[in-house]
Symmetry: C2
Subunit: 167 residues, 2 copies
């Protein structure tokens, strides 16, 4: 292999801006798939899907959330949100309360059964994460969190960090 293209292989290290970390790319795909796979199986028993899970999760995490805030977190259209939200309300997992100050707003809350389901799902995901952290170096959780946060669009990051910080 004396072709010009062999040059790259002979270099000690390419600048990090050109290196392609195939492992990190592919691991994110596999990890994410299995991570959401756990809840998916349970949700199917309720006739719910991944979209319902996201809504339930963030409503559980930020009780009193408005529709507009939820749309901003999920970054989907209100039509998409409305379908799953309506189902969650109809089946008694989420409750809408008209705003006191601003009566146009709907504040979202989980009902007791909504809380049960949300807790069940979050514990399942926590179990997978905690299992992954068990044998790992103690800094793993902090480093992984920082890494994942750094993957988020710079423009979105402050919003996400605000979301995670508060409660």
């Amino acid at each position: 292999m004396a072709s010009p293209s062999s040059d790259a292989e002979d270099l000690p290290l390419r600048p990090s801006s050109e290196a392609v970390p195939h492992d990190l790319i592919e691991l994110l795909f596999f990890a994410y798939r299995d991570f959401v796979g756990d809840p998916d199986r349970i949700l199917a028993d309720y006739g719910f899907g991944r979209a319902h899970h996201r809504v339930l999760h963030f409503v559980q995490r930020r009780p009193g959330l408005t529709i507009a805030e939820l749309l901003d977190i999920l970054q989907i259209t209100k039509q998409s949100l409305n379908r799953v939200l309506k189902e969650l309300v109809e089946k008694g997992y989420i409750e809408q309360r008209t705003g006191r100050q601003d009566k146009r707003q709907r504040h979202l809350h989980t009902t007791p059964s909504g809380q049960d389901l949300a807790l069940r799902l979050v514990r399942l995901q926590a179990k997978r994460i905690n299992r992954a952290l068990e044998g790992a170096a103690p800094e793993t959780a902090a480093i992984a969190a920082r890494y994942l946060a750094a993957l988020i669009d710079a423009a979105e990051r402050p919003k996400v960090e605000r979301l995670l910080d508060k409660p």
Copy 2:
């Protein structure tokens, strides 16, 4: 708050098997979304979607892959695979070669334009990852990779590790 439920808050640390790392749960959602968002925008120009990306990616990474091997990696049905694969072949991004030893098999390869597109996409994802690693501690890449691998189903992990190790 002297109710029984306040006990948990007074404990110094719950056992890791019960703690719920909300940040790691939510960060994975946001990070994954933005991570796949980059390629999505480019793929739209070609009339392709995320599913095409996955196929193209793994064919590029493991030239000569058979249909069965690809199905095993992606964990979708052959009907689902076939639709996107057919489009990639018809549009000239992937080529199928009948196996020499076993003529039933189809070995998949990227064409020159397939390689161009795959490279363009992988560089885009690499850029996001490398940007995330830039300011981070030097162990970040290794720790993140170990963490993500540990999130994968134990049964799948050896297969994935084999996939990542080889080339």
